[in-house]
Symmetry: C2
Subunit: 375 residues, 2 copies
């Protein structure tokens, strides 16, 4: 079966909606946020804790798992769920973004992309077909096609070329996927077009025509000005089919999530909460705290006085600061846990406000009172 | 109150005993093993998981907490339990062993030890009194006096000097502790003497005469031959007061724990399970596994097929191997968790066999069938 999506509630003042994606692996209420575990594990957090924190779907990466340990190995062990021990939903990104970001060597043609492994320098080739082979071998629930994600500051001609390739590759991906897929898998369509609204709309129309059960917006949060990004996103959801889940790729500032939920987006992913945790920063309701700052060394308060997570209920900032200063693994674990708890609660609060018909209040409160620059 | 100790059951074939230490913080059944969190946190494991794994007492280190963040800071935050978030028992080692192990600079006199901070090169002085000031400020439940722990290969004259200092310092420590202590704290006596039985007995008699509610054997597992160590330990427990807990410091091979429990030892600590976890080794019932070895890359089995811990129930060796090869924090977390689960179960099995009067069978089985070299 392909994924099913139903809308449970819609906000009457904004485009926000509460939905439910049903797959053979379970039901996942939207909007949801996916922690990122490119290598198959979200760093510094026990997979079992992800469930407790409210994350039913995580994001992994076909490029990384192709390079190490290899998709054949994951397949031989029994697929990505058995391999990672994560029994809920797993979305695999194609790795196109990672390949195009390689500084050492990559060459893009209409057929795909040649690249040099950043691990051992060996040469590899990703075609739309190859990327489907990898992800169907992995067995992830949500599969992303190879797309071309140009830098957001590229000129329009280059972005147009990328859009055309993305459309052509989407067609090829769909054909390959239909042949190779495991029953539980669903292939997403990806819309590119940078900050050019006409290109976005052109790409969106083409992706809609090809036909996918869910649509992703790619190529945002890749360096463009935030206002420009939100402005570009602004008009797109209205053009997306109402009855399909909408995934805004790679966007992760809490304020941006709230704003784009209001535009009708359903799925998010970002390295932010986990990466900040591993670099000693706490995401809190009063802003970001750099726990290496000496001001926290004898601070008996929890990381976030408005947080009810296990870390905030148990440990003083003084301990987290003490451990973070020494890059002690346990300090990074505590920060990662809290940051994910912050995101888990944000998404739960969004969903509950939608369920109660109070999203507009939540939205206004969040953006007027709670939102802190950088958070 | 000082700690209370009662014996619940004794093995009729060996010196092993099941006991219970009662403190204001709770009851701790012996024999128990203390995971080591020198900095106030056991690395790579959530403190809340320690409880689940059966560890009611952890070991921390006065020397490390004195240097960072400073015992005054820990005190200001509310003491070591509030600081670390660990609400069960905490034993603090004096740090003498760490100071004497400093390669850069340390000078021992009858008054104490001058040393250079390995962190910033600043000069410090530890006297028996100072070490009591630090630990009473920290507020740990079990306090260790400053002792001199000579290398196990030192000649007898040097070890004799160390024994005399240890005895003299024990007297001074007791006086200082009685003045400074918080009500819940108990001071242990430490017996030194290297591999020289007559010095051990001399030291033990003196420590008994001074009077402590619990006795530690220090200076083992510091480089001597294992048979020599066990041979030296062999006669000591019979000379220790039956009604006091006996702590064998720093000893941690599972086989050695089983052997010395049989000699009547009650408390253990060692960095082994956690350090091995962070260096990619799994302690299992069939031996130690180096998870960086490529043979595990597509192994679908759990780390230990005889283990019922969460890691073994959830993850294949293939994942742990994949993560360990990249020194991914999550890999070290999974290995640390499993290794601690192994130790937690070992101690539980020891206690249960004592409760059922079957320790001798357990002992024979363990040493004849289960014990693997290096485990």
């Amino acid at each position: 079966m392909t994924l099913k999506f139903e809308i449970i509630a819609e906000c009457s003042h904004t485009g926000a909606r509460l939905g439910k994606i049903t797959t053979p692996r379970g039901e996942f209420e939207t909007p949801f946020f996916m922690p990122v575990g490119t290598m198959g594990a979200v760093k510094a957090v026990h997979p079992s804790d992800l469930d407790l924190l409210g994350f039913k779907v995580i994001l992994s990466n076909a490029f990384h798992l192709y390079l190490r340990p290899g998709h054949e190995i994951v397949n031989r062990v029994g697929g990505i769920h058995k391999f990672t021990g994560f029994q809920n939903g797993i979305l695999t990104d194609s790795g196109g973004y990672q390949v195009f970001s390689l500084s050492d060597f990559r060459k893009i043609t209409d057929e795909g992309v040649d690249f040099k492994s950043p691990i051992d320098g060996s040469m590899h080739f990703f075609s739309p077909q190859k990327v489907m082979e990898i992800q169907t071998a992995l067995g992830s629930d949500f599969v992303m096609p190879l797309d071309e994600c140009p830098s957001s500051v590229e000129d329009k001609t280059k972005v147009e070329m990328a859009v055309n390739r993305t459309i052509e590759w989407a067609k090829q991906s769909k054909v390959a996927f239909e042949t190779l897929k495991q029953d539980h898998q669903s292939l997403f369509g990806i819309v590119q077009g940078g900050i050019y609204k006409d290109l976005r709309i052109e790409c969106l129309d083409a992706i809609n025509d090809i036909g996918f059960p869910a649509i992703a917006l790619g190529g945002f949060a890749v360096g463009e000005d935030q206002h420009l990004m939100l402005d570009t996103i602004h008009e797109l959801p209205a053009l997306l089919p109402r009855e399909k889940p909408r995934y805004l790729m790679g966007l992760g500032y809490p304020g941006d999530i709230v704003k784009t939920v209001a535009l009708g987006m359903d799925m998010f992913d970002c390295v932010l909460p986990t990466r900040l945790g591993r670099t000693a920063s706490a995401v809190t309701s009063t802003g970001r705290l750099n726990m290496k700052n000496s001001e926290y060394k004898d601070d008996p308060r929890p990381l976030d006085e408005n947080c009810d997570c296990y870390v905030c209920k148990t440990y003083p900032r003084a301990l987290v600061s003490h451990l973070a200063k020494q890059d002690n693994i346990s300090g990074l674990m505590l920060l990662t846990y809290h940051n994910l708890a912050f995101y888990g609660r944000l998404m739960r609060d969004i969903r509950e406000s939608l369920r109660r018909g109070e999203f507009k209040n939540f939205f206004d409160d969040y953006l007027n009172k709670v939102l802190i620059p950088g958070v």
